[in-house]
Symmetry: C2
Subunit: 158 residues, 2 copies
Amino acid sequence: MIDDVSLKILEILQEKARIPNVEVARQMDMAPSAVLERIRKLERQGIIDGYEVRLNPDQFNRRLIAFVTVNVCEQKAKQPLGPYFAALREIQEVHYVSGKDCYLLKVRVADNGDLYRFLQEKIILMAGVIHTQTTQVLHTFKETAKLPLTNSTVEQRN
Amino acid sequence: MIDDVSLKILEILQEKARIPNVEVARQMDMAPSAVLERIRKLERQGIIDGYEVRLNPDQFNRRLIAFVTVNVCEQKAKQPLGPYFAALREIQEVHYVSGKDCYLLKVRVADNGDLYRFLQEKIILMAGVIHTQTTQVLHTFKETAKLPLTNSTVEQRN
DNA sequence: ATTTATAATGAATAACATTCACATGTTCTG
DNA sequence: CAGAACATGTGAATGTTATTCATTATAAAT
């Protein structure tokens, strides 16, 4: 479905998405119009979902990452909890995970005080939330949304 | 440090980063040259870290997300484990977290079989790895790298 | 061999990026 | 308070890029 030419285009864009189309074409050794058409097609097919700017969290007072597992009892909740969590500004990821009726939240806040207030005011008080367990990130070695595009020896793409 | 004008530019770019500069200028009601200069400055200051394309994981055989906590004993490791994990294709995030000498990995693979092989071959076999606990994601409600830029009532930016 | 579908090229033109001279406004300082 | 220093905006000019489209090439299907 995705051929090597498109794959190479995606690799280039994954490296730096806000470069001119002509530049992609140059790196590909192809006509700009051909590259443009392919990118459009990838967008239409939903292979490319969008383009994001990556901001430095330190500059926006979001130095601290925490992972919070939230045990819930949805029967006691007054509203669906997944969408509720998803709507919170401090939360970047909401996953419903295997285990004991559990959500896993990735949270970004300024500092410990902020984290405390966030949990108290926005999580623990919610009807249906039974208890939480918070894991603080001390150091991040890698944090990316990139997907591996080149196939390693064992893997195949479809 | 970051004024409202830049903030609005970042909001626009956070929504869709690969749009022409002129379009940003139109939405801002400013001259394109002024917008360009501001974006350049934000890049120079490291406030903008880069631009990424967001790919659809389903289309690349990465339907399954798992979070893996890895208990380690770095003394028994033959190499630093953080960088080792970070180098693995399947891993999107590597955090060293509070708790019992623990790494938290966010892993993206095709399916259960893939996850099993990944853990067996690339994690559990590593010297220094004591044991792991894997949590599978059943459903994802939200997954973004966006930072909240508008200030809510209580918060402030610096 | 011919049809059909898919995708590349290259030329033409519209749109955009980029630079720069100049204007405006703010802050700092003597 | 004047005016220097700085930051940031505008608008025009120019070079670059995006986009469209007619045409050609390639590959698979009948």
